[in-house]
Symmetry: C2
Subunit: 416 residues, 2 copies
Amino acid sequence: MTSFLTLTPVPELLAHIASFAPLEAEDVPLEEGAGRTLAEDFRSPEELPGFDRSVVDGFAVRARDVFGAGEGMPALLSCLGEIPMGAVPTITVMPGTCVRIWTGGMLPQGADAVVMLEYVRQVADPDSADVELTRPVAPGDNVLAKDEDCGLGETLIPGGRLLRPQEVGLLAGLGQERVRVRRRPKVAVISTGDEVIPYGRRPLPGQVRDVNAVTLAALAREEGGEARFFGLVGDDEATLKRLVGEAFAWGDVVLVSGGSSAGRRDYTLNALAAVPGCSTLIHGVAVSPGKPLIFARSGEKSCWGMPGHVASALVCAHVFLRPLLRRLLGRDDGNRIEHVVSARMTRPVPSVLGRRDYIRVALGRPLEPGDAPTAIPVLGKSGAISTLVKADGLVVCLETDEGIPAGTLVEVEPLR
Amino acid sequence: MTSFLTLTPVPELLAHIASFAPLEAEDVPLEEGAGRTLAEDFRSPEELPGFDRSVVDGFAVRARDVFGAGEGMPALLSCLGEIPMGAVPTITVMPGTCVRIWTGGMLPQGADAVVMLEYVRQVADPDSADVELTRPVAPGDNVLAKDEDCGLGETLIPGGRLLRPQEVGLLAGLGQERVRVRRRPKVAVISTGDEVIPYGRRPLPGQVRDVNAVTLAALAREEGGEARFFGLVGDDEATLKRLVGEAFAWGDVVLVSGGSSAGRRDYTLNALAAVPGCSTLIHGVAVSPGKPLIFARSGEKSCWGMPGHVASALVCAHVFLRPLLRRLLGRDDGNRIEHVVSARMTRPVPSVLGRRDYIRVALGRPLEPGDAPTAIPVLGKSGAISTLVKADGLVVCLETDEGIPAGTLVEVEPLR
């Protein structure tokens, strides 16, 4: 008696995931752009700034006029007045003169640098317009030159980047009221199992509350997806087929979880197979936790039979659903390095050759000062949700390893 | 001529921030709980699971009946039937018998372990109810015992934790339809400066678009805050005072940015001082970028004069506003280690004793295989927003250092 004839290696499933195409693009208001993924390279439609700007409060000068100036030998210049903010200055700086300028002010004709306020003193005579400058500057000092921030046509943000507050700011600086991002992947969630009840209800003996629906939906939203719950169904193949059909019509990704027993797993298999054009490519993955995973595909849509165990379902979502959603978003973060923490395993963890294990660990204080933090394996069965609450991250044990010895320095991928 | 008489050291400002009290708590629907901060310790209101559950598909047995079983010497047991899902089993497992059970099924009376399906075979006679079990189990094997996941009254999630998908799942498993979280800090944003125009408008020569409002609002939202824009005001003290008053009436935090020139800075100082009960505690911080920062406080509310330079404003928001918002949320992530990346500086960066510098860096490939990634200082003036788009993170150069030599292994705090 066995539920799985062959287990598919993890890299094969990851290769399937990598073969999905990004979703279509959509325009959203800029202020809703943070956290979205830019669909196409953004090229600068103009120069930024559009003029030479002072980046300090001070005096606009001709750099040669303050050459060699110092505390003991200030340069004496005649101040012609003050630059108005937000307008083109009408004053021209001639040799021997300077103009008071504020941060953000437009550099006047003739000036090529700004001396900071701190290095300028009024001459003793209050009626005099003369000022003493006690620091030299080179041409361009304290000036943000026209197009120094962004040149015309320059690729400022490559397509695929997650828009952080600063990218949104740059787009505002260039007058973009809307931004072209990938639309959110739609993730449909279905729970199954005769013993599973809605989480707001009180279980009778033998019943359990539905944990997977809210957990998977939360994870999908965190990764930039739109999640919708299509319902909880008992061990009823016809109803499951109908729900999967509705979910598939709406979603890019359909997750059917719960009820991982072989009999019910068959319902899920049958329901996914009944979706027109959907082929079951994988049933059973050489992964722990998560072995009973089902992966079916129809074009750019996919249907997943997720493990019913709550911890398994979440680990599988972390390991497979997140990369799928990033792929659908066309995410490409360039050199931005994924958040991983190096830590030292406190105890050995056994594994099995040919299987990829994702070990839940909590992070703890280093064993010795200056050492990496410790990675403490969280013991507990994959049906226990509390193990994931105690876990700070996952450590991978590859197919080629029979386990991880105590004291090994491992990479911990945070469970966000 | 100088704008700041004394600069406050960064640790002093951080101490002010650490002295704010968390905001009040509020109940939200569980499905809106992900990403929020738990207000109080969550103790388990019941045991989870509420009964001994099988975590595999297989046969519920008395462990002593399969003692010593193996491929060559299977234990022969009489199968009494199947456990119904979601109900209390009526069958009792007596010596020499077993019961078929599915994942999630309730362990029947008499049984103390489950043998996995893979290690059970039907005897040849199709009329016989007997099965052969080829693996021994110990009591408790493949069973999630009543309260093994959560014990009654156990603190499952400490107050102050960010709720991840798995915490939401645990709360669902325990029937919580609402969760008590800190309310979102309200962040009011005001932009100032005669030269600044709304970002949707086309600037005339000398004008620039407002970058800070959307950037600061996006950062505040990313940190769990609620952001509201109160307007853009020119160099007009009366209007600024009115706007600050409105912003302060609504917000927990008021950010006035733009127009960092001394003249206008005075308007901001005056406007913040005009808020009833608000004291200006800091004007000028020994930090780069961000020196012209103003910090004023009234009880648990604070008003900030943010630097006008877009990169300075964002770095200050990252370095000061984020910890303030986390403080207002009562965030306490325990051992969950903040995301930092070790990297090797590619070039020396000078600094000044007594000042804390936040150096923008991009991450690059390691110089040698196996080495840490490189941290490449992003050159550019603090008025340039593109420097922050190119930056992956910040490297701190402390007050006690005169700079960071090339080749130093530094910690990079990601600019998310």
